[in-house]
């Protein structure tokens, strides 16, 4: 694509749409051919749709106008989960006899394929180094969102939680223990205190990684399993009535309903609320340690630290409150003075009226005059 074309939103989207059409047409042909001949379609490569989607997701933001890149990246990532579900369903239904003879046969096919579908979503991607990758895509965003929140607050370069994954992945009990032991070693010598602070930080990040794993792999995984069971039960109920979902979208919506139901049942439980709170609290403890270390570093360079800034802000705030109070007092005092003045004027007026009308009990003007 020429540089000129890349600045024109019409050009790059047209190229993208054309490539997509060709890709999807080939899959449509394949499906229709299998349906027409009642034969099994050729074995597809693993995850062809989502792989293609990933490929586009990488290419598109580069081709898109800069102001839209963020949006496009977000949109493609968010819709990937939907396509993944379609892909798994396609595989499941293509693997059997086409077309399914009745809803019960359809149900048999789907229920057999669903378990592998769910495992595929819930388990980490085989090619990915990230243990939450499959899970995050499956759910849409919660864990991914959390990681973004964590990274945004980190005072350290990069994402420490990600860096610790090697020690924390599934089945990594031994390296984790080893790291924990290493972080507990007594420190020696000239840099002893600095080493201790670093070890403390490592321990806190390990604790957060552990809490994150318990939340994602424990609490949320239970929701996922429960949602799967619920979806199967609802599909079974439908097929017993001679019905099946009429579209991928209907299937997806049913899945979302089941997911929300399962989540609503588990999210208020003490197990879930405590796991979530641990995840947040452990992150904050690690951040606190980071701040302490960063402050010491800044202090060594005679630069202002967070603590110093907080002290300044607090004092400014205290001063501002005092100013507000003084203003209020002044206002109140001013109003009191005005009231006193008005009362004085009233007294004077009454006295003058009385002087000008002595028949009503007032004194004569002369008598009312103050003596020198």
């Amino acid at each position: 694509m020429s540089s000129k074309a890349s600045t024109d939103p019409g050009d790059w989207t047209a190229v993208w749409a054309d490539a997509q059409q060709k890709y999807w047409q080939s899959w449509l042909d394949l499906s229709q051919q299998a349906t027409a001949t009642l034969t099994r379609p050729p074995e597809p490569p693993p995850n062809p749709w989502t792989q293609a989607f990933d490929f586009w997701a990488k290419l598109m933001p580069q081709a898109a106008p800069p102001e839209n890149r963020d949006w496009i990246g977000k949109l493609t990532a968010l819709n990937k989960g939907y396509l993944q579900m379609g892909e798994h369903l396609w595989k499941t239904l293509s693997a059997g006899q086409n077309p399914p003879p009745d809803p019960h046969a359809w149900w048999e096919m789907v229920s057999q394929g669903f378990k592998s579908m769910q495992d595929g979503f819930a388990a980490p991607s085989r090619d990915s180094q990230d243990p939450w990758a499959g899970f995050a895509t499956f759910w849409g965003m919660p864990i991914d969102n959390w990681r973004r929140v964590c990274s945004a607050y980190s005072a350290m370069p990069g994402d420490i939680e990600t860096a610790l994954r090697g020690f924390m992945g599934p089945g990594a009990g031994t390296p984790e223990t080893a790291l924990s032991r290493w972080l507990s070693l007594p420190t020696l010598g000239y840099t002893r205190e600095a080493q201790e602070e670093m070890q403390r930080l490592g321990q806190l990040w390990l604790e957060h990684s552990q809490a994150l794993r318990e939340y994602a792999g424990g609490a949320l995984a239970k929701v996922s399993a429960k949602a799967g069971e619920s979806l199967m039960a609802k599909l079974h109920e439908l097929t017993a009535q001679g019905k099946t979902p009429e579209s991928l979208r209907e299937f997806y919506n049913l899945w979302v309903d089941c997911g929300e139901e399962a989540y609503a049942a588990l999210a208020p439980t003490p197990e879930f609320t405590q796991a979530q709170a641990r995840m947040v609290n452990t992150l904050l403890a690690a951040k606190r340690q980071e701040q302490k270390m960063v402050d010491e570093f800044l202090s060594a360079f005679n630069m202002p630290t967070r603590r110093e800034l907080d002290t300044s802000h607090k004092r400014i705030h205290q001063l501002q409150r005092q100013v507000w109070r003084l203003q209020e007092d002044l206002e109140e005092a001013g109003i009191a003075a005005l009231r006193e003045e008005v009362a004085g004027l009233r007294r004077e007026l009454e006295a003058l009226r009385a002087e000008s009308n002595p028949s009503k009990g007032g004194k004569s003007p002369r008598a009312a005059q103050p003596t020198a």
């Binding site: 969102n145 929140v149 009429e246 979302v256 208020p268 609320t273």
Partner: protein, 351 residues
Amino acid sequence: MLRPDQIVQEAFDFNRRIAAGMTTLGQIGQIETGVSPREAVHREDKLTLYRYHPRVADPAKVPVLIVYALVNRPYMADLQEDRSLIRGLLDQGLDVYLVDWGYPDAADRFLELDDYLNGYLRRCVDFIRRAHKLPAIDLLGICQGGTFSLCFTALHPEKVRNLVTMVTPVDFQTPDNLLSLWTRELDTDLMVDTLGNVPGELLNWGFLSLKPFRLTGQKYVDMAEILEDPVKLKNFLRMEKWIFDSPDQAGEAYRQFIKWFYQENRLVNDTLEIGGKKASLSRVTMPVLNVYATEDHLVPPSASIALEKHVGSRDYTAFAFKGGHIGIYVSGRAQKEIPPVIAKWIGARAH
């Protein structure tokens, strides 16, 4: 019955919409919010007090001040021309003011609830009272702003003539309040001591986590269906902008709000003190209209309707809107129902 070729066709259509939608996205331009003409009449630090231009020749003599929450931006109440609570109220003949709290920064982290209520909000109310030569005005509090309005009214009852609360949490510990359950386990001191101001992203994560399947997945799949319609897409993006336009929370005020309201439920336990003065709901003796949403996932109806048991007023009215926390401002039905209900209720007490 769902068939493989149908799935491919649906997936293709879905992808085609996304591709076509990229062109629409590229051309959509700026997302404007806040449509009703207004002017800033008072500013103080980050706060701005706005007065909206009346839309009738002879607006109500006593103005209504809208007190919005700290956790989101107030333009939700005036999102677009055909979805605007404020416009609806103006059309009903009310004279509308709005407090915009602004975006706190690090220098604001020591602001307390006392500063917000006995300071900023009181000065706004006094400004309007002076400008209109009135002893008291009407307050309309939204969500957390409703809780603030209740507290303010309890502290300064002589300055409030009528009080309207919308989707307002009062009892923070009803069993169906998920936010409350989650919040009770959090180490709020550690959070504020560590972060200072509490970032809006963190709060957003909590709100999205209330319904993760719908709010982080299904919503964007739905979006693919409107990508080719610029008007619907713009409406979607406007709402999206509002959802993620989350100010950071001034640290000390956040600490007090979470501990006093969510964790200790002081408002209904009648143990709330702000700025050394007791803020007891029994002091809220003026007429009260409490509008709540029956499908509210952020402030469950149980949290709102608890007000009736604790408020000191004998003139208490509750209005149930059949919808959610957001729908009560932006749904088509809300435009027809909510402003007339509020205006009629205030009008009946305009003596």
